[in-house]
């Protein structure tokens, strides 16, 4: 009985090995040990059966196919819900400032930085006469944003389990 208890994951607080067993991520040797233990331990057997029901349900679940324009619709929705209105962008810092939500120190720093930028921009190349290509500027900015998004997506891809590589 003691020997059984010593090996029992539920008794010795090692339930994650049972979790790994149910997730089929254990080595064959460990699987054999757990299966041998399950024949003798009703508590673990019941726990594992419950877990396996969950896994079976997850295996049986199939994602709904997504439409061809899924990406476009999703990104458009993100953009529409998260883009604050011009009014909000104008009023939010003022609202926070007036409500005392911002302390003096960050306000002073931000103000000084903004003034510095305004001055720097106003004195940059004062003799330039040709118009600045607004569209080109925007495109360059957007390319950087897209590059950043791709970089982050790549990072998140790398964090996925290697088994997902089969779906590219």
């Amino acid at each position: 009985m003691n020997a059984k208890n010593n090996q029992c994951p539920m008794q010795n607080g090692n339930a994650e090995i049972l979790l790994s067993y149910c997730a089929r991520s254990l080595e064959a040797e460990q699987v054999a040990q757990i299966e041998q233990h399950l024949t003798a331990c009703a508590e673990c057997r019941a726990w594992a059966a419950e877990q396996q029901t969950v896994w079976a349900a997850m295996d049986a679940w199939e994602a709904e196919p997504v439409s061809a324009d899924f990406d476009a619709a999703l990104f458009a929705r993100i953009a529409s819900t998260e883009q604050p209105s011009v009014w909000q962008r104008w009023t939010e810092p003022v609202r926070q400032f007036l409500q005392g939500g911002l302390g003096w120190r960050p306000v002073l720093s931000a103000g000084a930085l903004a003034l510095t930028l305004v001055v720097a921009l106003s004195i940059e190349n004062p003799f330039r006469t040709e118009p600045v290509g607004q569209t080109v500027k925007l495109e360059a900015q957007e390319i950087e944003q897209a590059e950043r998004a791709l970089e982050d997506l790549e990072m998140l891809r790398q964090l996925e389990p290697p088994e997902e590589e089969t779906s590219l």
């Binding site: 997504v66 993100i78 998260e82 306000v107 944003q145 998004a149 997506l153 389990p161 590219l168």
Partner: protein
Amino acid sequence: MMIRILIALGVVAMGLWAQPPAQQARALEKLRRMAPEERERALQDMPPVRRRIMEQRLDRWNRMAPARKQRLQGSFENFRQMKPEQQENLRGLVRKFNETMPTEKRVDGRRALTHLRKLDPEGRKKFLATPRMKDRFSDGERELLAEMAQNMPD
């Protein structure tokens, strides 16, 4: 009073200056929809190496299976909900993972990460202390995996 008004104006200017992160997703979608020759023109001024990397990533994204793409978009959204300093921290950790973890260990590292994310902090500690994990990963590598699991988005 004048100073206060100037400071308030400064703060408003900073608010306008800030780039909402949704613009990243919109810019990516715009780039993705461009005709090849249009994209070629848009990217022509980029440094060649950066451009090649970006094109490879865009191509990989375009070819990705819809289910996986959907899952990654979910992760991307969760990632964007994180504070900028948390995002930067995670970027740094992944960079460290790629730079310090030997190639042959990275697959196991990613498997371990997947498992670690399912566990609570106590479970993580126990899992990282198992002989198998100790045999496979150095102390520093296990610490890195723990930190990554803790900082990854859902």
